[in-house]
């Protein structure tokens, strides 16, 4: 059942269609009222990039303040607001909607051979909810700011005189957005697969998104309730988390981390999915251990729900629970290691194409192993008592959040840029930026491990002079990192406007999303695709290996 119209079939000089999802309809309203998953994905891209820019500016402000032991550019209260802003914006506005919202929306239906997600209008609603939540949360930050950190621990969050309520309300609404996206993806994967696509032929990004969506659907309601309870506590004094009225503040941490630990996997699993896609494409080799990668995504999602207590080793949680959560946390390491071995196995003896995304892939592998190993370390109770609330933990989760997730975001952005916009970016500049980012990242966060181990607590405004050298190193690294991002922004915008037109499949990828034109037509495919081979198969028995020069 072809959706093609005569207009779609009109081609340019190379016989490629000139009408695609980007230009079939013009004007701001045609974007704001669209239900096309590709346009929604692009709008998410713009939104999360703005959030990333904001979060990045706040991060740089924090790093700049920590350049010297004494106050430099801001007061203590502003500093508290800054790190809260940085955390909240990065987590709730960039990380969680980032890869699923942008690349999930854009690629998932294409990968499934579907014309759209299952509920296109709901999809648009979730974007609008994202905008609403983001606006409310940011308005709260401007109106007075919040100084609780992104974790909103009670009883401080229920008693601080700063403006907390709008931020909580914004997060509540963002939660709805996240739930609706997850729900939509699960239903899409269940019901809209192309003919011939069984579960064991799903691309690995789809598997990762599936696992992510399960977490989004199951865990997000609990954070919604939790922030609501904190809000009610502030306004109504219900005493739910207030020890002076018999409430239990540790209960807040349980409820918060029941969401927020799995939320780490909401951020990381799609990143792992992106890497699984790109690593096969750039080593031109069948993915190694397809089933193991697919199942380990589900495994991480599952185990992630049983590990929340490892954030609470020093909170007064019982010793028994500490032990139980510590042991269960180790399983996350097992599943992650399965993935890493399979990725490395995919690279082994592949026809590796050293392009910018591959540089990020290598960075990703290092960061995820290093961040993962330190994660195992901080999930060990005896070590965590020493490292808890120090820069060691900060460095650990930035290795995962920035090191893994942002590398994957950049892989996805570069790998799917020609797919989304039909243009190529400048490879030379991309390599330069990749170098800056990988190096800058190490320079920023490796000193923080040392700082934390030496005893510097996180979220502190001033510090003893003996920590200064490492802090200077970290701040210097963060400027390298920032420079890398600025370069990326410049050459991508340039590519968008002036870049050379990309061919339909510039990477010679076997990903299903490349079966259609780049950029895709309005309804994704001119003809309903039929899947005849497994995902990521670059060498099929009896088929000559294709050598695409990329």
């Amino acid at each position: 059942m072809s959706q093609s119209t005569e207009l779609d079939n009109a081609g340019d000089a190379e016989g490629r269609p000139v009408v695609n999802y980007l230009n079939h309809d013009r004007g701001v309203m045609s974007w704001l009222t669209t239900v096309d998953h590709k346009r929604i994905g692009v709008m998410y891209l713009v939104s999360v990039l703005i959030a990333f820019l904001l979060g990045g500016i706040f991060a740089e402000a924090v790093r700049l303040e920590l350049l010297t032991p004494d106050p430099t550019i801001m007061g203590a209260n502003t500093y508290n607001r800054m790190f809260t802003l940085h955390g909240a914006v990065m987590i709730f506005l960039f990380m969680i909607p980032g890869i699923p919202g942008v690349f999930g929306n854009f690629c998932l239906p294409l990968m499934l051979g579907a014309k759209d997600v299952a509920f296109p209008r709901l999809n648009l609603l979730s974007l609008y909810l994202y905008w609403t939540g983001a606006t409310i949360a940011l308005a709260g930050m401007i109106m007075g700011g919040t100084d609780t950190g992104w974790t909103f621990y009670a009883p401080y969050s229920t008693t601080t005189p700063m403006t907390v309520f709008p931020v909580l309300f914004g997060i509540f609404i963002l939660g709805f957005s996240s739930i609706l996206t997850g729900l939509n993806f699960i239903v899409t994967i269940h019901t809209l697969r192309a003919p011939g696509m069984g579960w064991m032929r799903l691309p690995l990004f789809v598997w990762a998104t599936y696992a992510t969506s399960i977490i989004q659907v199951l865990a997000t309601p609990v954070i919604g309730l939790t922030v609501m309870l904190v809000g009610i506590e502030r306004v109504g004094g219900f005493g739910f988390f207030d020890a002076t009225k018999g409430g239990d503040p540790v209960l807040f941490q349980h409820m918060f981390w029941f969401y927020s630990h799995p939320a780490v996997y909401i951020m990381v699993l799609p990143a792992m999915g992106v890497v699984s896609e790109a690593i096969a494409a750039f080593s031109r080799k069948n993915i190694f251990g397809y089933k193991m990668i697919a199942y380990s995504s589900l495994g991480i999602a599952f185990v992630g729900f049983f590990a929340w207590g490892h954030h609470m080793f020093v909170s007064g949680q019982s010793t028994f629970e500490n032990g139980a959560f510590a042991v269960i946390s180790m399983f996350v390491g097992v599943f992650t290691a399965i993935k890493v071995f399979n990725w490395v196995g995919t690279l082994y003896r592949g026809a590796i194409a050293v392009k910018a995304p591959l540089v990020y892939i290598c960075g990703f592998l290092f960061f995820v192993v290093f961040g993962g190993m330190t994660g195992i370390a901080v999930a060990t109770i005896s070590l965590d008592v020493h490292w808890h609330d120090t820069y060691f933990v900060v460095a650990h989760f930035h290795f995962i959040m920035v090191g893994a997730v942002i590398m994957a975001f950049l892989i996805a952005l570069h790998y799917w840029f020609p797919k989304m916009f039909g243009r190529m970016y400048n490879e030379g500049w991309a390599m330069v930026a990749a170098g800056f980012i990988v190096l800058g990242f190490n320079a920023t966060f490796i000193p923080q491990f040392l700082l934390g181990n030496a005893g510097m607590p996180r979220r502190y405004y001033m510090y003893p002079e003996r920590f200064q050298a490492l802090n200077v190193a970290s701040t210097a690294g963060s400027s390298l990192l920032a420079l890398g991002f600025v370069i990326i922004l410049v050459y991508l915008i340039f590519a968008l406007v002036r870049g050379p037109k990309a061919v339909d499949n510039p990477w010679g990828s076997r990903g299903y999303e490349w079966m259609t034109t780049s950029p895709p037509p309005k309804h994704n495919f001119h003809e309903q695709p039929v899947i005849t081979q497994d995902a990521h198969s670059y060498q099929n028995p009896g088929e000559e290996v294709e050598h695409v020069v990329i």
């Binding site: 059942m1 959706q3 579907a114 014309k115 759209d116 299952a118 509920f119 296109p120 709901l122 739930i179 729900l183 939509n184 699960i186 239903v187 269940h190 019901t191 809209l192 697969r193 003919p195 011939g196 696509m197 069984g198 579960w199 659907v217 199951l218 865990a219 997000t220 309601p221 609990v222 919604g224 309730l225 939790t226 309870l229 009610i232 506590e233 109504g236 004094g237 219900f238 005493g239 739910f240 207030d242 009225k245 018999g246 409430g247 239990d248 209960l251 349980h254 409820m255 309804h523």
Partner: protein, 222 residues
């Protein structure tokens, strides 16, 4: 699980106004919508799980207060509300049966009955709330009933008001959904082959009933 079966179903319904462009058949679309609804119900379960957790925690800490306070609620009103909700669940289930048999008027009547039940539930609930305000059985810092002296009574009423309040909110939402379904039924939008909206409105309503089935004994009886 071969997915080749999926292709076996050709698309007879192309051009059907109820069928969105990205689905091939009405069955596929209905299946998708049902799965979406169940996922949504799953999120609701976890939302209430947080409050049940609060109940469990504070009942564990303040066992006596919870026992004493549960006696302060009106058991006849609570029981009446339970019966009303269970009966309304029956009505909405029968409404779905009726629409599947194309008995439009019967379905509309049953939906009206369901909405009336919901309204009755809310009215009774508001009487209960009013009484609580009178005697000062209120959450957290507002608690001021001198007759209940066990420590933790204020937390019982915190849990009570949060749980029943959130549930009452769901009753209101459910009423609105059912009113919207009723409007569709009156317009003749649904029939034997096209009634998934009635079914899903009913599913939501059953969930509201489901939550109350647990809230009732926990709050009123033990």
């Amino acid at each position: 699980m071969s997915s080749s079966e999926a292709t076996a179903h050709a698309a007879p319904g192309r051009g059907d106004p109820h069928l969105a462009h990205h689905f091939d058949t009405q069955d596929q679309q209905d299946g998708a919508v049902r799965l979406g609804m169940w996922l949504f119900l799953g999120t609701e379960v976890l939302l209430f799980a947080g409050l049940f957790l609060g109940y469990t925690v504070y009942r564990h800490f303040f066992h006596e207060a919870f026992h004493e306070c549960s006696r302060a609620l009106s058991l006849p009103l609570g029981t009446l509300n339970t019966v009303i909700l269970i009966t309304s669940s029956l009505f909405v289930a029968l409404a779905h049966v009726a629409i599947k048999q194309d008995k439009q008027k019967q379905a509309a009547g049953l939906l009206v009955l369901t909405i009336l039940c919901a309204l009755a539930f809310l009215v009774i609930k508001s009487f209960e709330y009013a009484h609580k305000f009178e005697v000062g059985e209120l959450p957290g810092k507002w608690f001021s009933n001198p007759e209940i002296t066990a420590p933790g009574a204020n937390l019982y009423f915190t849990v009570y008001f949060l749980a029943t309040g959130l549930h009452a909110f769901h009753v209101i939402v459910g009423m609105s959904v059912l009113a919207w379904v009723l409007k569709g039924v009156l317009k003749g939008k649904y029939g034997p082959r096209n009634n998934v909206a009635v079914e899903l409105g009913g599913l939501y309503w059953h969930l509201v009933d489901l939550v109350w089935i647990f809230l009732f004994p926990l709050l009123y009886l033990i």
